[in-house]
Symmetry: C2
Subunit: 279 residues, 2 copies
Amino acid sequence: METRELRYFVAVAEELHFGRAAQRLGIAQPPLSRAIHQLERRLGVVLLDRTSRAVSLTAAGSVLLREARAALDAVEAAERRTRRAATGHAGLVLATKAGASSELLAKLLDAYAAEPDAVAVDLLLCGPAEQERLLRDGRADVALLHRPFDSTAGLDTEELRTEGQVVILPAGHPLTARTHVRSAEVTGLADLPMPRWPGRDGTYPDGPGPEVRSHAQLLQLIELGRACLIAPESSRARLRDTLVAVPVLDAPTVTTVIAWPPHSRSRAVAGLVRAATRL
Amino acid sequence: METRELRYFVAVAEELHFGRAAQRLGIAQPPLSRAIHQLERRLGVVLLDRTSRAVSLTAAGSVLLREARAALDAVEAAERRTRRAATGHAGLVLATKAGASSELLAKLLDAYAAEPDAVAVDLLLCGPAEQERLLRDGRADVALLHRPFDSTAGLDTEELRTEGQVVILPAGHPLTARTHVRSAEVTGLADLPMPRWPGRDGTYPDGPGPEVRSHAQLLQLIELGRACLIAPESSRARLRDTLVAVPVLDAPTVTTVIAWPPHSRSRAVAGLVRAATRL
DNA sequence: CAGGATCGATACCCGCGCGGTATCGCTGCC
DNA sequence: GGCAGCGATACCGCGCGGGTATCGATCCTG
């Protein structure tokens, strides 16, 4: 199978529409139809059920969609990492969620910078659940993840810290008088619904909470008394006095891990991980 | 980058010889030269240093070799898993080292077979250090590995059992009178050298021990007093009375893990892992 | 030191396959 | 029933991948 065929299939499988997929790929529709047919013929497998009105994935097609995405990521990663290796750009790219673990991150960067063979570390701030993809497609060399929110499947990891969670409320809210709360007391608040983040496709799930795109936006919403947030307790450090954090007893413990793609033989990654584990 | 280009590059990078690589690929040498040049031009990266007498990898070339292998494995896995998904062959393929963990394996298969939604499990016996590749390129769905010998990088795992190691000696050998030994006493034996296994390329490392290809062959060599073996203590169960096992106190502990490729959403794999963890 | 052997690069040609346009055939809808 | 939407099919042209022949550089050999 050629990557061209995989790219074509992924486009059709995602659009479920040959015309739109062809447009997205920048080719005409007939060659796309033919390419998919050829792919099916070569595999000996029907990937799509098509009537003249609708296209849908078969079970085998769903499998190929998932696998093809992974394979294309791997090819992309090969390209990117080769280019980076060539330009002699020895620097590391560290992916981290925007506005998370800043003091841990600072300590890590300081500790690593003190190592004898340290190289430059570029930071790549990204949205939630995006880091795994950055590592897999080669845009990042190493990332800070937070279990159980981020999946670490297929990555090598080292645990850095575990902590409880707090709920962040606007100052003056009745619950701020409490020394601790339970998660059910918070998620059910009608006056302070949990905000909704966009999914990978950019759309928002249904629900009562406000739609947010950034951390700053979210904090402002909390100050305005329109939302609340459950977050790791280390986020207290960055709170202004208009916001109050109250421990949530039964919220899942958050583990911050440093993660990197398997088989990454890079000395630089190894050094950064070593610095991290010594924190 | 197309997989064709990656295959071509891997062939050249492995052979370090355009002629042989072309032969291996079943094409003539000139198109291969051209393809590699094109790849370098498109990447904007020099991958190979070539004089008219010798070919060698640049730093970027080594990176691409490693990454390209991973990417090609992923493409191959996509193809295989899609084919398997299509034939409705719901069975699982379990990879395990030939002649290892047989009683654990038997218990696992029994426990899984008792599950309500169990599917057929095919066994794929393979040589040491081969399982990871089988999982990554889609020939196997799940494997039994032994840490620290097998690398679990890039795989999801669940620990099943930890055990010490024993040295397997021919009956009558002086050391068989001991209740335990230290590893230095065994690895230094001039009369019973450790056997040598072939590497991934089929060649044997240098050393004093006999060359072996199979477990049966090895056991016979031990019976004949020509070799000894350090193995997990569970291998005692299969020994004939011509062989004696003596615990090795300072040998590393062996952990048997069940491993599967990340993102494997298969219900069957999940069921097998669940059965394994309940053992 | 000359001649040959080896090996990658280059030149040139051919044919397949990818992509394009035009059109068909089916289906659901007003 | 006519129309609109959409995938499949037919057909064409050209670019590119692959082939052979040959060059040019380098090392070995007598």
